[in-house]
Symmetry: C2
Subunit: 166 residues, 2 copies
Amino acid sequence: MAEPNAEERDPEAVSRFVEGFAAQLVEAGMQRMPARVFAALLASDSGAMTSAELGEQLQVSPAAVSGAVRYLAQQHMVSREREPGSRRERYRVHSNQWYEALTNRDAVLKRWELALRAGVDSLGPATPAGRRLSETLAFFEFVDGEIAAMMERWRAHRETLFGDGT
Amino acid sequence: MAEPNAEERDPEAVSRFVEGFAAQLVEAGMQRMPARVFAALLASDSGAMTSAELGEQLQVSPAAVSGAVRYLAQQHMVSREREPGSRRERYRVHSNQWYEALTNRDAVLKRWELALRAGVDSLGPATPAGRRLSETLAFFEFVDGEIAAMMERWRAHRETLFGDGT
DNA sequence: CGCTTCTTTCAGAAATTTGTGAAGTTAAGG
DNA sequence: CCTTAACTTCACAAATTTCTGAAAGAAGCG
């Protein structure tokens, strides 16, 4: 490991992390470009980058950045800021926001639950298959409830780790 | 909704559920064919199907089934059984096993943590980016711990819902 | 042992996804 | 208003992924 220095960022080290972490996100099902953009933002010091900066860091066209950012914003994983002076836009990860968003896979769970309910209904609650689906559904409903509580505990735990992070 | 009857399964209703649920899984990042196979197994009465049955239900070649099943087995989402008599193989979802497996996205978390640690290390723990990555890392470590506890609570909760399901 | 039945592997065709360049749109600043 | 700097959209080319058919590989059964 190189000696990390707060003064100078080694672009290569940054890039290694960005591409490596993005690759993991991709393997978990995220699209490549959003993953790379997100990783780049995570690895930036300010937590925010312009479209141009992202394009240069990742060696991609403005169009690609635009598409990726649109996706990330929809998922609430980044927010857009207009800097007052210019029509230049900055994309930002809020330290917390982002894993809150990751938890917003709630939405995914909700859709799964919907599909399962339809299945139970049409296959019949009393059939073996219906019972299996019911149990699966019950599991997701349970998880839904637990996640909220877990995030609450995380916030508390976070305090003890990092002090009051506004 | 048709009147579900324990005696006769409506193939169309089954198919509707299978394709619908699979679509949701796909949208969440799962590959199409594994998702369809998995959904088909979930919707089967016995919880197990042969390659031929899966092929017919899903209208795909044996090769496609083979590939999907290999993937699902690696993810511990199905298990393979050889029925003693024949060289025919059956693929099964254990009612519990499957969401336990879904929780095995632990493995995913672990890899994320690894990548994040590398990032903290090479960018420097004292840099702003390093601190952001550290916090993210701490979050995942926290979640890791919570998940085990949550599954414990689920098992207990499950008892209260379904009684003792061996 | 060889036949038969099932599964797996593999090369390639088809479909889908992904990223680009170029034109289009919006809004700041003169 | 007009110019200009940015972002976005769109059609298309390239790369990747996905599924198939065919051939090869196991394993029961006669």
